[in-house]
Amino acid sequence: MRYIPITDQDIQDMLKETNLSSVESLFQSIPSSIRFKQDLALPMPLDEMELERHARQIASKNSTSQTHDTFIGEINYQHFIPSIVDTLSSNSAFYTAYTPYQPEVSQGTLEAIYQFQSYMTHLTGMDFSNASLYDGATAAAEALYMLTSSSRKKRAVLSSTLHPHVKEVIRTYAKMRNIEIEEIHSNDGTLAIHDAEDKFTEQTACFIVQIPNVFGLIEDLKPLYDKLSEKKIKLVVVILEPMLLGALMPYDPARVDIVCGEAQTFGIETCYGGPGLGFFTGKKELIRKIPGRIVGKTTDKEGREAYVMTLRAREQDIRREKATSNICTNHALNALRATIYLSTVGEDGLKAIARENINISHYAIDRIEKETPCQIPYKKPYFNEILVKIPTPHTHQEMIKKLYEKNILISKNNMGRFFPYLGESFVISFSEIHQISQIDNLILALKEVLS
């Protein structure tokens, strides 16, 4: 059989050499009343050619950023991916290995992760990074678990301008441990600082805020730093579009405790939402409490440089129910992709790409505001996306359909569903993949659809 290199003759030989009577006899410990004797009701097996045909047929039923001009961001971002990211990450010595428990035969994975940690640390301005987590929302939820358990406080404050998906995941995790959650309201699309006064208390473990926020706006955290440190509240900054960090550092790293989020933007396909790449960076005094793997540099017996998983005593396979988190592995292969991407574009390339995102989005959003009936309700500093309000009586559903007919895809999230005061609205996102002609088409389409 294709994937099973044991022949019928092998089976006979193996049984004979081991004095076993039959393969069936190996299953005798299963009670016969529950033994599954019939066939599983699965489709007839496909050969390679049929399988390829089938997969291509399914894939062809999707619209993609190749078939349509796509202006969707919010949680996953489309950027150009240099071809060597695919070439190098599809080396099977990387992707067919497991967690590097045996460092002597895993230096490739370990050194790649060490560089991933280094890149993320430099990008966020923190002291350390772990080896990655599942995604941006679970990274924020892990920060919540970590900071509430290490402080023994049962309260956390969220910015209401977190993306609703991040907020929902945090709330799912919080309710399991009876962690009380409060939200700070927003004013004109960003945090209403005055609302923080009575919500920050001695019992608050952490404050979680997102940059850029759900509306694409870059929050100014400066007025919060003293308020937080007065009450010993840890500050967690969630970033879902860390491409931003190639051009801007909109917070003071000295005043932030954890920067975590989603790094899919660095060389990983959107691929219908997964797998993504959670990242988790922070201040050194927190390092012994963090979730997930971390790789350290050390030496071997001969004094040669070597890499190894370290601070393992926090982890589930050693500490069991007393572990700092139940996280077992990371998203190593996607961390590798991000490392290859960041190595390839490099310092100067990342700065250029991030700046180009600003150029394109500011050009496009200015035109949307000036030339179409759409409104941009909040005009504050933004990176590559922003909230667009749909003029009445038009609806988001109608926009989706009509723009689709003009070969344009926009987000399925009607922000008015999460923030009723906004009415019909959505977030529009731009990146270096867009050309002027696509922006021209978008403007024309918006004008026609809303005429």
């Binding site: 399914i58 894939a59 060597i84 045996q102 002597e104 050390t298 290859i340 050009y363």
Partner: protein
């Protein structure tokens, strides 16, 4: 010997992309658009050329050992062959270039694949409904424990049902996941075959018990023969059974968790269903439940109405959202294609041969290194190296010496109930010849342990580095350049 970090090769003026970028857009002046102190001039990344990047990562890859390099009998991890066609097809642009926030009608292909996959998993496991959202085994366990909690909350018993039973032989993630969502852990003693000690189970059973988490075959590789009795005890007490699917590869098409009495299961697509482990993720761990728990599954859920498949968030008793977006979709595509390739006969054959291979290795090796438990094993066997203590040799030394013979070591020191454990899981994708080579190597190592133990204690000898100093790594922490 390691490879030089790319930052050490960095030179101003080098780049791996075309710079300056070609752009037709007007420049935005950062200093006029943003506060001055936000504008960033340095980051800390290297500037290197494309050929340097290619050589760097190709050299790194050569320091790795994967399933494609050779035999990887890492117990509990099911390191089976990762079919290449599935890699290729999961990379079709029709899949990879879709965005999780595209309107449902524009991703009917993805939604069809997910819905169909849920149905296939339900058939294979004997469960009624699946969610594909959890990103990894531990995330699946967390989701399962959240479902347990939500179920008892809805029944008004959440205050009372605070305990989760876990056998002492269990994977570390089990107690960690249950504790993560606020449950107390009660350890259940194991029999000498690693199974649930039913007498002890009855002792610790009371109305505070919410559920038991079980792996079957258990972590000693042995089928839980008392599973029906365990299920009855749990259900009579109003408690649930959670199935950790780490070892499902032993049972595909032979017996289904749903028929054993399990209420919630998680599967590891990266173990049982052949998707690559990626050097430690991404995996994917769908969670299946019996019909009466369907309403607690996380959102979004996939539904079909009027020939349209939709992804919806309005499910009243759902535990809520558990991740940022979608699922680990690309992993799901690979596992789906694997099942379509194998069919019913193929999956049954996979489990039969996985079990045969493990027993073959056990029978051949146990005269030299005794089996850890006196029972028929399923897809993995555990040997105990405790008899080597007089030579100063431990399980890990045998493992390190195996590397010299060209094999990846088995799992060491797990399960905890077996001293000096060497847990060997060959999987069905290994030939008899490969296993014979492995068996010969093990026999030689046993001989070496007795005659020249330093060969083992100083192993491995031919790798780019020898054993790294782990104490130093933790003490003089260096986790970033």
């Amino acid at each position: 010997m390691t490879v030089k970090l790319l930052i050490e090769s960095s030179k101003k003026g080098n780049t791996g992309i075309h710079l300056p970028l070609k752009s037709n857009f007007p420049k935005t002046d950062l200093h006029q658009t943003f506060p001055n102190e936000w504008v960033r001039e340095t980051i800390g990344l290297p500037n290197v050329s494309e050929p340097e990047v290619v050589r760097h990562f190709t050299n790194l890859a050569s320091l790795n050992y994967g399933v494609d390099s050779g035999f990887y009998p890492l117990g509990s991890c099911t390191m089976k062959y990762n079919p290449k066609i599935n890699e290729k097809l999961a990379n079709l642009e029709g899949f990879t270039k879709t965005h999780p926030l595209q309107p449902d009608f524009t991703v009917q292909g993805n939604l069809y694949l997910m819905m169909h996959f849920e149905q296939l998993l339900a058939e294979i496991t004997g469960m009624d409904a699946f969610t594909l959202l959890p990103a990894a085994g531990a995330h699946g366990e967390l989701t399962g424990m959240m479902i347990v909690k939500a179920y008892f909350q809805n029944k008004g018993e959440a205050e009372k049902r605070t305990k989760i039973l876990i056998p002492e032989s269990a994977h570390g993630t089990n107690p960690a996941s249950a504790a993560s969502v606020g449950f107390e852990i009660v350890e259940v003693k194991s029999t000498n075959c690693g199974g649930v000690d039913v007498a002890h189970l009855k002792e610790v059973m009371n109305d505070q018990v919410a559920a038991i988490m079980l792996t079957n075959p258990n972590t000693a590789g042995v089928f839980e023969t008392d599973i029906l009795e365990v299920a009855e005890i749990m259900h009579q007490n109003g408690s649930l059974l959670y199935y950790d699917g780490a070892n499902l590869n032993a049972l595909l098409g032979q017996v289904r968790p749903g028929d054993m009495g399990f209420d919630i299961v998680h599967l590891n697509l990266h173990k049982t269903f052949s998707t690559p482990h990626g050097g430690g993720g991404p995996g994917s761990a769908p969670v299946g439940v019996k019909e009466y728990l369907r309403e607690y599954l996380p959102v979004p859920v996939i539904r079909e109405r009027n020939h349209q498949i939709t992804s919806e968030t309005d499910q009243f008793n759902s535990i809520g959202m558990i991740r940022l977006a979608g699922s680990n979709f690309q992993v799901i595509v690979k596992a789906y294609l694997y099942i379509l390739t194998m069919g019913s006969d193929g999956l049954k054959k996979a489990s039969s041969i996985a079990v045969l291979n493990a027993n073959y290795i056990k029978e051949k090796l146990s005269p030299f290194i005794p089996a850890g438990v006196p029972c028929i094993c399923m897809h993995e066997c555990v040997l105990s190296a405790k008899d080597f203590a007089p030579y100063g040799v431990q399980a890990k030394d045998i493992s390190k010496r195996l590397i010299d013979y060209g094999f990846h070591p088995p799992t060491n020191y797990f399960p905890l109930i077996i001293p000096e454990a060497l847990m060997i899981e060959p999987t069905e994708t290994e030939s008899k010849e490969t296993m014979d080579h492995f068996i010969d190597a093990m026999k030689k190592i046993v001989q070496e342990a007795k005659e020249n133990p330093s060969l083992l204690l100083e192993a491995p000898h031919y790798t780019p580095i020898s054993r790294p100093d782990e104490v130093k790594a933790a003490k003089d922490l260096n986790v970033t350049y």
